[in-house]
Each structure stands twice: as structure tokens, then as C-alpha cells.
Symmetry: C3
Subunit: 128 residues, 3 copies
């Protein structure tokens, strides 16, 4: 269910990008208990002109290693669970690729559970 | 009104990608009755490292032909209409490019009708 | 907070794209009073096959200069403020790069304020 869009600066190795994607997915599994097989991710790389970020908004120091993660997921997780998700993503990325936790920006877009079709033209979650 | 983002693996011909875009649009027109002229689509191609999917989540067998379709559209369609939309998109893609219905993943993001400007800096739907 | 995705046809200069991004950001600051440092933008370029638009939907004449702007932002702005935002974006783009106002398409995706992490794995807006 989550559809995860990961944007980062170009120039990283494919191993690095895979490790980022793996870490984000593991955090989703651990923090909000999605099934491990529920994995759909789109990774995009951008040059410095195409990924623009503020280096100090809210007093947080960001670098060109910034990873922007936008997750479309079902509405209904408590605030506490969403906070755990943020924390876990940052932790996992730190472990996986030594990413500074300041360089993790996350945006959640919550949608109704019936707003997904995982194949066959059916709304698999609609009647759950 | 729908803003449609279509993501698929690179390597398909431009004719194939156009047929996919056409099929998704026709399904929107047929299933939820948007005007035929209400068409705005962004298609992105991704290599195997950048479009990650589970090949069997929910028991559905997916291949590298997977098409991920994220549609931003106005809130308010009934569940039945949204189900018809999912079914129609899968049908149309099967007809158009022989896409397996298992290889169609759809995510709807519903927004308020006043959250669009189609030009001129105006909110054309706000007072409808 | 806003995460801004700007899509336009490829072929523009980097100066042009920067001016577009600047104009959109200035409009957000002016119209809905986000902090000037609250800037996160992803710009993507697309060829004619990959950015499909209707040239006359709602009687508005669009050209290949079309810029599609999708803004993920917190829910809660009044309709009037959102209308001012649309108007200001179109005005700023006209001033900055002589973009025709017809060529500005905007989609807002509103989310809960606790659905952001700007770094450190924390939900900075959750308790505001």
C-alpha cells in the first residue's frame, strides 16, 4: 500500500540508492507493520538545479545528501505511530548509509483505504 | 482535473507509452465521466533500480511490465464509481497494449475541488 | 512545508527553470505566508511524449510552455487564501519569465500538519 517516492541528488551509486530504498521499506514494516511484501517504490535522481532545498529551515542543517521521501499511505495511523515511522526511517537510513538524520525529509499523503488497486482492476482493500 | 502520473519501466516504445496514456485517459472518461478534454498526464520511465515492486503482494503476479498510475482527482466519487474506474483502467490497458491486468497498480489521491487552477491563476472549480 | 513538484517541457535553460522555481516560491511566501526558508522543490523536465496536456480544456489556451505545479501543503488555508495563491503564482511567473497565465496549472494536495518530518526523524509541526 504505501507508494513511496524517494528523491535524491544524482551521483550516488546504485548500491547506495538500493540501500536507501531498503531502509525506508524496513522502517515502514517495523514502525507501521505493513507486510514485508507490500513494497512499491519509485526513486528519482536530480541534479542540483532540480532538487532545491533550504539548508537550514527550522534550524536543521541540510546537505546535498538530502533525501526527500513522499509516502502515499492509508489514513488511520495514530500520531504516535506516524512519529515512530519518522524516527525509524531516519534511524534506518543512518544505519544503512550513514545518512545524517538532518538530511531526511518525509511527507506523508494519507488516502482512503479503498483508493488502491494492486492489480486485476480490483480494489483489494475496499472491503477489509 | 485528474492529474495523472504514470510510471513504467524504460525500454518501451513511444507508441506503447502513448497507448498506455490514451487507455488510462479513456478509462477516466468512461468510468467517472470526466470531459474528454480534461487530460493532463505525466509519464516517467525508470530503470530496474529505480522502480521497485513486489512480484507477488496479495497473491498477484507482477512483472517488469508493471504500470504504476497515481491519479490526483476530486473527492466525491462513490466507492462503486472508483471500483469501476479501477476495472476500466485495467480493461483498457489490456485491450490497448495487451497488458496483464496483474501489472496495473493504481493509487488515487483525492483532493477538494477548489484545489485546482487550470490557468489564469483562477480556481475554476471552486464555485461549481 | 510545502513540497513543490514542478513539471515542464525540456528545452528551457537552467536560468529559466530557476526563475520558475523562484517565482513559485515567492508566491507561496507572499500569498500564504510560509517562511522564506521553507523551500523544498523538485523540478522535472519532460519531452513532448511524456507531458501530455489538453490545449484548450475549460476554454484556456495552453502551449508547450505549460508548467504543472503540484503542491503538497498543510490543510487549513481558507478558500480565499488558496485563490490568492493561484493568482499570485500566475502573476509571479508572468513577471519572472513572461509565462502566459494560461500556461500555469496548479494542483494542491492538502495534508495534516503532523504529516511532515523536516529532519531528525521528528514531526516538527505535530505539536504546534
Amino acid at each position: 500500500m504505501p507508494l513511496v517516492r524517494i528523491a535524491l541528488r544524482q551521483g550516488k551509486s546504485s548500491e547506495y540508492r538500493r540501500a536507501v530504498a531498503d531502509a525506508v521499506h524496513e522502517a515502514l514494516v517495523e514502525a507501521i507493520r505493513i507486510p514485508p511484501a507490500d513494497r512499491f517504490q519509485i526513486i528519482t535522481e536530480h541534479d542540483s538545479e532540480s532538487l532545491i532545498y533550504d539548508p537550514s529551515y527550522l534550524g536543521i542543517t541540510r546537505t546535498d545528501d538530502l533525501v526527500i521521501i513522499q509516502i502515499t499511505m492509508n489514513v488511520g495511523r495514530t500520531l504516535d505511530l506516524r512519529k515512530q515511522l519518522f524516527a525509524r526511517i531516519a534511524e534506518r537510513l543512518a544505519q544503512a548509509v550513514s545518512l545524517r538524520k538532518e538530511d531526511v525529509l518525509i511527507s506523508l499523503v494519507e488516502v482512503a483505504k479503498e483508493n488502491w488497486s494492486f492489480g486485476n482492476g480490483e480494489a483489494q482493500y475496499a472491503d477489509k
